[in-house]
Subunit: 344 residues, 2 copies
DNA sequence: GCGCTTTCAGTAAGCGCTTTCAGAATGTTA
DNA sequence: TAACATTCTGAAAGCGCTTACTGAAAGCGC
């Protein structure tokens, strides 16, 4: 920018007839004779002076903009977590730079690199990692010098290979609890709408669910498991694929609520009623699912808290020698989308 | 940050045994002997060098972080618009700094001030203005020197008093069209869930609706109009208030989809069915309303485009002498939440 | 009233980078 | 080979700010 040139501290100092140092001190609330301070403040106001944050950062003052990177702000899950982050950031007088990668690893790394260049005091990564471990490693390589330089990194629900402070939902336990609840309703034949295998979120939720089923003597037919991206349309398509191929289940577990929403739409479009023909359960408890008809059964995660805790972690020094891991448990919430079934 | 000190260009230059200038040129892709360039690049990679964005900005290189301010990232409306903004920003290799004010004017002004300090090349304001015109004026005062300094400001759906480039949804026309459609279904008695009177979004949508009704000889009973904040809970409470006071309408128009969602929940909690007992219509067409049961009738705004166009506006020079205003029209979409009614 | 400490303003040295300018090195033409 | 044009590199001057460091003025005890 700067087609015209800006008002600088020097202009203020000259207008107030004091030295640069005095002007700086007055503006930063350090001890200065009241009379001089007033003159400086008045001059600054008159000239609509705004300090140049870059010059300030360069000269040593610490910089108050933290970076938050997520896959897609448009996704209610990320929006909710980001909301939590922003609340804590705001309370600490920090600005946040929120980036959406749209699931493009290159863009994610570019974001980290720019944040690094900005000398942001903290970077938060929200959401599952990448399918390709090479990207995960590239990210790690980008993060390493940042951490070495004193940067703080915290992560929400991310691939564990990243050795940084993390807030991790108890995906496995949550999915297991859900399985138990669903078994309790009498379901024995399940279908699962899964996501990319490489994501720990997927392996944990899917694994927890499958293992709990197995423990109860119920096996999950691999033909009833479909993969799709973690989006509404991904859920819709996965469900449609399953329907086309032949659905053989009384209950569908979608690994995320967003997918579950898509699944319900697909079911409806195929003339099947939820929960009368098929029960559907999700995971996350994004706010909207309460207002669906029927309301979605799911595993409720404290989404806001996920973000808040991550931000808090990034803001406090890690005094221990190991990375901190905060596990947050989910709670099964059975609502209208899952019905009882006669166990046969 | 910087507990430890950072790798600087000087370190790279020394490692590559060239001058600072040469290192800078090599890194910025300017003409340098291939051999030297390789040496510099290799050294930079070896040292994990990241240029300091502040130093760079200070030294004159333009800064690539734009600011976007909205009320609440958690609201699907803002998320959708912000998504559009980010897409265009990403395509132009810009980082966006997304701030959530949570409807606090002071925070909004603080954001603008920080963005100004950062010398962000552009600031985007998304969403309705404030109820108190004094805040609006304070904001204007903050924006003025920014604009004078060459900053770009664009606004989506904002109080018109701000004399900056704007993307404005055709709220009045959209609401009028909706009124016509609803009349066409036979409705004659309406209730409206409105927002704060001071917002132009409210006066336009409400005014357009009421006037069109009036033109058709239908008057809107003031007792059937309730105000509430533009949130899901705001809609829920407004609807509940109306229900308690006595609903006398066959159709409820909520000024935003988010409110409509709350209204539907309130209706349901009162044992009323949508649309059999009452029809409900919203405004905006946020993505989720398609997946509600019944799907919500609404006025569809091109939300993504709102953000995209605003970003584009902020990116292109305004060659004319007047501020640019881009009006985007909405389209009535009748879905399951509105039913036909015998006009009596 | 004289040395002493204590305030407080001013001078100047960077922070890490870009860029102008001048000079060295190379290539071109007669 | 001399004279000149053409690259390309390096030295150095800032960008706007913070912050030692320095020195002047003022307050203190004796």
């Amino acid at each position: 920018m700067q087609s015209r040139t800006h008002v600088t501290l020097e202009d203020v100092a000259r207008a107030a007839d004091v030295s640069l140092a005095t002007a700086s001190r007055a503006l930063n609330g350090m001890r200065v004779t009241p009379q001089l301070r007033d003159r400086v403040l008045a001059a600054a106001a008159r000239l609509a002076y705004t300090p140049n944050a870059h010059a300030r950062a360069l000269a040593g003052a610490s910089h108050r903009t933290v970076g938050v990177i997520c896959h897609d702000v448009t996704d209610p899950y990320f929006a909710a977590v980001a909301g939590g982050v922003m609340r804590v950031a705001g309370a600490n007088d920090l600005l946040v730079m929120l980036g959406s990668t749209f699931r493009d690893p290159e863009r994610e790394i570019a974001y980290v690199s720019m944040l690094r260049a900005e000398r942001a005091p903290a970077i938060l990564l929200i959401g599952s990692g990448f399918e390709d471990p090479r990207w995960e490693r590239a990210l790690e390589a980008e993060l390493k010098p940042y951490l070495d330089g004193g940067g703080r990194v915290a992560v929400v629900s991310r691939h564990r290979s990243l050795k940084v402070d993390s807030v991790l939902p108890e995906n496995r336990a949550g999915a297991a609890a859900l399985a138990r609840a669903l078994l309790g309703l009498g379901h024995r034949r399940f279908a699962v709408l899964a996501g990319p295998r490489a994501l720990t979120t997927v392996t944990d939720r899917f694994g927890g669910f499958r293992d709990e089923l197995a423990a109860a003597g119920v096996t999950l037919d691999p033909a009833q498991v479909v993969e799709g991206p973690f989006t509404r349309d991904g859920g819709y398509q996965a469900m449609t694929a399953l329907l086309t191929r032949g659905l053989d289940a009384t209950c569908v577990f979608a690994l995320t609520d967003v997918m579950a929403i898509g699944a319900c739409a697909a079911l409806r479009d195929h003339g099947l009623a939820v929960p009368d023909d098929v029960s559907v359960a999700g995971f996350d408890d994004i706010p909207i699912v309460r207002d669906l008809t029927p309301a979605l059964s799911t595993v409720a995660l404290p989404l806001h808290q996920l973000g808040e805790k991550a931000m808090e972690m990034a803001l406090t020094e890690n005094t221990g020698r190991r990375r901190r891991i905060l596990r947050m448990s989910g709670e099964v919430v059975l609502r209208g989308s899952t019905a009882k079934v006669d166990a046969r």
